[in-house]
Amino acid sequence: MTPLQFEQLHEAEWLELEELLNRLRGSRSKRASLPGNRLSQLYRRACEQLAMAHERAYPAYQIDRLQQLTANAHQVIYQQHELGVQRLIQLFTVDFPCAVRAHSTYVWVATLVLVLPTLIMGLLVYFKPELILSVVSADQAANFSHMYSDSAETIGRVRAADGDWAMFGFYIKNNIGISFQCFASGLFAGVGSLFFLAFNGVFGGAIAGYLTHLGLSRTFYSFIVTHSAFELTAIILSGAAGLHIGHALLSPKNQSRTQALVQASRESIVIVYGVIAMLIIAAAIEAFWSSARWMPLSMKYSVAGVCWAAVIAYLTLQGRGHSHARSYES
């Protein structure tokens, strides 16, 4: 069969398939009435014809056209739908907490790497307050003590006029950025995640020790205690996700390093989804609740207690017994 005969024979089918694929790109109503059987039939035939055209060394324009046609149909037929409300519900009721428990070793390591430097640095600065200058400049230290002083109108800010919304935006940009960095730098054999966890621990510990030394503990701890339930946990979890991909690179077990990395990334991205949600909650609490001065302390601490209990219970209990926590594979 000559190329021209071949084209004449199959042209009608190619046009029909092209037409169907175009309709698929159109509106929802057009897609609903699509004859799926016909589409897959035409796709298989186009695959056969492409193989034939290759074998018989038909001219480039025909092979290219068939290749384009089959590639487009392949994309449509094997597409995976991951978005949707159902998927989100599954993610937060089962997948996220299960993924956290499945990688509990990394979570514990990340917790230690964050908490130990916090405690050590906190105690050091509490007893020798001049050490704060090894972490921040004198100006910054003065700023911090001003933010949490008893006379400040709203806690945790330099200027009261910034407004809750502006601070919400700031916390979103800053905190989620930090946690993404903590995750991404895990790619370097986990070293980056360890560094950012420890660094944040040292920084937080130094500030806490310094303010406690100055006698500002009342305002400071009542400010951080509620949102830290979400924020600290989220930073630890993103660090744990980073450690997971770093460890996969170091010790790929019976896979190639690339395969191990790809699989670890897919597993840990589920944790990152959860981290994003937790940090948005944290930013909202930090901006609109923690900074309010009119609230009695007892109320702040009881709400904080509820938040901590809720986060820990969610991560340890939610989705337990669910037979198969699906991982987000593609």
Partner: protein, 235 residues
Amino acid sequence: MTRKVLDAAITSETPEGIMIELRPAGITVRCYAYMLDLFIRFMIGGVASAVLLPTMKGVGTGIVLVLFFGMEWFYPVAFELTRWGATPGKRTFGLKTVMDNGLPITPAASLIRNLLRTADFMPAMFGFGIVSMLIRRDFKRLGDIAAATLVVYEQKIATKPRPLDIEPVAPAFLLKPEDQAALMAFAARVVKLTAERQDELAAIAAPVAGCISSPDPIVTRKVLGVAQWLLGRRG
């Protein structure tokens, strides 16, 4: 028909047993696309700041900060999940992001490759990303490796050759399939060549038309005639 050629194309086999050809995009074109995206983000940020900051005070600041955050991390994710699979910058340069097997990128993969951009950026100015793209055959940066994604050229179809006004000539002997393809490819791009170059190239293939190898317009017409015959035209 598999031939060893100097080519960066990657093939991925589908369950139907056909090969999908992917052409990974190199560092230069990806740089252009990135810079265009950067410019677009810069413009959006500039306009939003100019409009929102003076008019809405605190709330405006909040919205602008969230917008900057969103554009820094989720601008590529949002665009990669559209049906073009590419940011405006990539689309402009004819690129798109796909999975290793040629399928549309999944939300998880898109998030992975864009969050790991931070790692590519280290130690400074995309140092690791650039090294990774330069030493790999498929030009992947670190984020692409972890997400199992590829940045490829959108496929372009070779244009259908206009039928040449030339008498079909039966080949002098039976031609191998790859030789037939070479002749038809020559006929397809002959319009883009100068007359001298046409003659030079045709001289190489002269034996198929039963002529002596010499750069001569008559030989060229004969060789192109053979290509017409192979396409299926008969007298």
